[in-house]
């Protein structure tokens, strides 16, 4: 916390030189301009899916209207255009993540599939009976269940690094839990349930001292901070299109080529082969080895437009704006009697999880919705986190570049009204 009062944070937010103008940005997002139950929509469910700007929608429409064709195999003009557009996005993603080589960028259908790809393929090649996979107590189910499946298949063991009361990872524990049997550390970059930002560069240093590779679940981090996979030195990094203002059904897996080259294919099919006979198939090189079948071409085009939009605004300025919103919301909501914030890590981004004594999060969610405020309620696909904080569920507001201080006020007022209903 900054220690400033809510009002001063708000003023500072509007005067800071690096601030972005959320009102100008809002003009780019058609979904935001609507009423819900007679109130202007206040969209605070960005950690689930961010809204898409018009430029992303236009890019997808333009592609289907003008350039649509399958990629990679055609000799005709449209296939060339579609392939060029698709591969150009791979270069954009390489640049966004500062990957060493565009062959290290695999398109998937989202973070979940990216992690499943690694669990399945890396697991097949490198994990055996008695081996260990290390995750943390703040993982999304997408970074728990794939590893459980591998453990079951291979007779390996899943170990979980604990977190403290604030929702911060216990790094010392992580260090001691890496054993000669540890084959991989899989950790979330920013927790979707708590907002905690994990020190993944430090985690990679610790793991690499013991020659253990690290996978980073970046679903929540790409929209909030600059990512440099070489600087972080992570071995794998996964993220989704729909959390970075892009379409659903598309995502990315970055992997160091030294691992990807040794890993067997995840799925078999078209596009991932060099030569097929009934006796034997020779697989294609990276990245095609991991992209069997016709990919989500329009989704990739949309993702490219979304990344272009995010980079034009500047992810650093986006983060600065969201940090001010988060501080302001933390102060305002924290001052409401009966509210308990879940997740108070010193390094937080984008997410404000809370419970109100005596009121179930579902009732809060339903009531604030009637004031036009869209928040998420439930376990956020992180049931172990809920158990850690001894709650069945939480309510969660999550912020994006287009949210305003006024919207935070509407949200906090709506929570107060929910409390009145139950008083």
């Amino acid at each position: 916390m900054t220690g400033l009062g809510a009002e001063s944070i708000r003023d500072e937010g509007y005067q800071a030189p690096a601030s972005i103008d959320p009102m100008a940005i809002r003009a780019d997002f058609p979904t935001l301009h609507q009423e819900v139950y007679g109130h202007p929509l206040v969209y605070l469910d960005n950690a689930a899916s961010a809204q898409t700007p018009q430029s992303v929608i236009d890019a997808i429409v333009r592609f289907y209207q003008n350039d649509y064709s399958n990629v990679h195999r055609g000799v005709h003009r449209l296939s060339q255009v579609a392939t060029d557009a698709y591969e150009a996005v791979r270069r954009d993603v390489k640049q966004l993540l500062n990957a060493a080589d565009e062959r290290e960028i695999i398109f998937t259908k989202g973070t979940t599939e990216s992690i499943n790809l690694v669990a399945s393929s890396f697991g097949e090649r490198f994990i055996g009976e008695g081996d260990e996979i290390l995750i943390t107590a703040m993982e999304h189910h997408a970074n728990i269940v794939p590893w459980q499946l591998v453990c079951e298949r291979k007779g390996a063991r899943l170990r979980v690094v604990p977190i403290d009361e604030r929702g911060e990872l216990l790094l010392d524990e992580l260090e001691t839990m890496i054993t000669p049997r540890t084959k991989l550390v899989a950790v979330v970059h920013i927790s979707n349930a708590l907002g905690t930002v994990n020190p993944v560069k430090r985690i990679a240093e610790i793991a690499h001292r013991r020659d253990v590779p690290v996978l980073v679940d970046g679903a929540q981090s790409v929209p909030h901070q600059r990512i440099d996979v070489q600087e972080l030195d992570c071995d794998f990094f996964a993220f989704s299109g729909h959390k970075v203002y892009g379409p659903t059904g598309v995502g990315v897996l970055y992997g160091k080529s030294r691992w990807l080259e040794e890993m067997p294919p995840y799925q078999g099919g078209g596009d991932m082969i060099l030569k097929v006979t009934f006796e034997r198939t020779t697989f294609a090189d990276l990245p095609n080895k991991f992209e069997a079948g016709t990919p989500n071409i329009a989704g990739v085009i949309g993702l490219g437009a979304a990344l272009e939009y995010l980079q034009a605004i500047g992810v650093g300025r986006v983060r600065a704006h969201e940090d001010r919103l988060l501080s302001y919301a933390t102060e305002s909501l924290g001052a409401v009697p009966g509210v308990r914030l879940i997740g108070t890590a010193r390094e937080k981004a984008g997410v404000l999880s809370f419970v109100v004594s005596g009121i179930h999060p579902h009732d809060i969610g339903t009531i604030v919705d009637r004031y036009g405020v869209a928040i998420r309620v439930g376990h956020h696909c992180a049931q172990p986190v809920m158990r850690r904080f001894d709650v069945a569920a939480t309510a969660r507001a999550s912020f994006a570049m287009y949210n305003t201080f006024d919207e935070v006020d509407v949200f906090v007022d709506a929570v107060r009204k929910a409390i009145e209903v139950f008083s």
């Binding site: 579902h362 049931q383 139950f422």
Partner: protein, 146 residues
């Protein structure tokens, strides 16, 4: 504004749930779970000759699920199994908005008629009824509404 859903009777049964206890020594008990929001409920029934002589619940959940379980226990006492079954059918139709609420006499359960405008919350109210069904049939597996 929320008179249609969070009516005083629902808020009251949420604050002070009736029949919120365990009934020992009965084979008729079951557990229900709503994985979407984490609501949990246990239903206990005591039957004599096809008639519900006692019914109770324990649970952890939102106001709608707690009030629904509480009001269900009140509505069921003294009913035959057939009557209980009919009541569930009529309740289900009402909360899904498939029947005008006046068409059946649902008594106090009528307060849930506003739920048909909140389709995401219907399962909160029906969880206890599905679990009741399992308790009647002495089913051991946890009932899940999803």
């Amino acid at each position: 504004m929320f008179d249609d859903l969070y009516q005083e009777i629902i808020l009251d049964h949420n604050r002070r749930p009736r029949n919120c206890r365990v009934i020992e020594d009965t084979p008729h008990h079951a557990e229900g779970h709503n994985p979407l929001c984490g609501d949990e409920v246990k239903i206990f029934l005591k039957m004599e000759d096809d008639r519900v002589v006692d019914v109770a619940f324990q649970g952890n959940g939102c106001a709608i699920s707690t009030a629904s379980a509480s009001l269900m226990t009140e509505a069921l006492r003294g009913k035959t199994l057939e009557e209980a079954h009919e009541l569930f059918g009529a309740f289900h139709e009402m909360v899904k908005g498939q029947n005008p609420p006046e068409s059946k006499d649902l008594g106090k359960l009528q307060v849930f008629s506003g739920l048909s405008d909140y389709p995401m919350r219907v399962k909160c109210a029906t969880l206890c009824w599905h679990t009741l069904q399992a308790a009647i049939e002495k089913r051991k597996e946890v009932v899940s509404v999803e």
